[in-house]
Symmetry: C2
């Protein structure tokens, strides 16, 4: 199986990491639209246009599947991508919803969805979770988390103040959907803030769970061939990938 | 005089505001590349490519001048823009340097330059200020200021923590160059942090000072015709412009 992973930038590497750990694929082509990142503050129509351009890029490869690692794109452009792609297109939002339904058995549990402005405004998670029967949903656009992660600020006074800013009026959640691929890097801070009993739902793990649920993987691949493409500075993306995925 | 004002997004409206207050121009065409904002974290080559595309856009109008309101573009792409433009191209960096030289008479004053990663990495302000004879320069990329302003967070615990994060090891400055069009919105917080004696240099005021120094304005225009263009969601830009420029 040869797949494409698409993200607006580098955040989707956290999804690649989960895919590698589970040895699901023989070859992964990663494309990050680093020249136009971030998508989370952009318009629906712009996001769709960029997403379709990514599908066109992936047509250079003979892919068996495209995984949309970006929550914003998954929330807005999945059906348009499916129309123009020649292979299945899977998004992190549907995966996150399935993972939440599997992990949280009680439909009256409090679920908090956090993401970029665009992801939260789309209501994509809310609508799907309501269809799954969940009744107590809260949402919060936590846009500052993206630049904080990109500045590599994961703890300390700014994080504490930002968590209070966003969450002081939130009813204590039983589960938090990390609706942006940057947010797992703030897992420790979020877990400390909400306490150990609150479950954090991570897009990378969710996508693995979803894939294993939907498809029949008969083979494990000890090594996966990885190729990285970016709309600007691919070398910088490759360096970050090396650091994130292999710790060097 | 009919001029173009270019910015990566909405920040350049603070420059337009200064231009309007001084009634210098008959007509202003504003272009914000809102579909690809922010530029401050992007590559030099990408910034140059986008800047040249903006010059091409301005060729739709018969302009007497292009003002680059974006510090990042001014720092990286001014000479390339000049090569492809049919009219003079003026940038906020050269204006900011002139304003600093006019405002700070003592060459051994401590000058702090703040801006996006790209602007600070370019060393554009440093090199020009050194050429003006300034000896005590400090720089700090304060990238988080941009999303904070876009989230309309101008004061409070996050701002306090962020100011400490960036400036706790900075030698107390006599002047601070606000090297990003977003930063004037944090003037109150910066003035409180550094104290009343520290002078803040604002790109909008600097460009007016520069224009009045370089050109002979014989006429004042009580009304200026304004047109706004954006690479995505021009209506949103026009709404923000109405709010910022006219307070409605």
């Amino acid at each position: 199986m040869k797949i494409g992973v698409f993200d607006s930038g580098i955040g989707g590497l956290s999804v690649v990491k989960s895919l590698l750990e589970h040895q699901l694929f023989e070859e992964i082509i990663y494309f990050g639209d680093t020249a136009r990142v971030p998508y989370g503050s952009k318009d629906k129509n712009t996001i769709i246009r960029y997403a379709i351009e990514a599908v066109e890029f992936f047509k250079n490869f003979d892919l068996d599947m495209i995984i949309v690692a970006c929550n914003t794109v998954s929330a807005y452009a999945l059906s348009e991508m499916r129309e123009s792609a020649r292979c299945p297109v899977i998004g992190v939002v549907e995966a996150g919803v399935l993972a939440t339904a599997n992990a949280v058995s009680n439909n009256s549990a409090n679920i908090l969805i956090i993401g970029t402005n665009a992801t939260i405004n789309s209501q994509a998670y809310e609508i799907s979770l309501e269809n799954q029967g969940f009744k107590k949903l809260q949402t919060k656009a936590t846009s500052l988390f993206v630049p904080l992660v990109e500045e590599e600020i994961f703890e300390g006074a700014i994080i504490d103040a930002t968590l209070t800013h966003y969450f002081e009026h939130i009813i204590h959640p039983d589960a938090v959907i990390l609706g942006c691929t940057h947010f797992p890097l703030l897992s420790n801070a979020l877990q400390d803030y909400f306490g150990k009993k609150t479950m954090l739902i991570h897009s990378g793990d969710a996508i693995v769970e979803f894939l294993e649920h939907e498809f029949d993987f008969t083979q494990k691949f000890e090594t996966t061939k990885l190729e990285f493409f970016a709309s600007e500075n691919p070398q910088s993306l490759r360096n970050i990938a090396n650091k994130w995925l292999y710790g060097n």
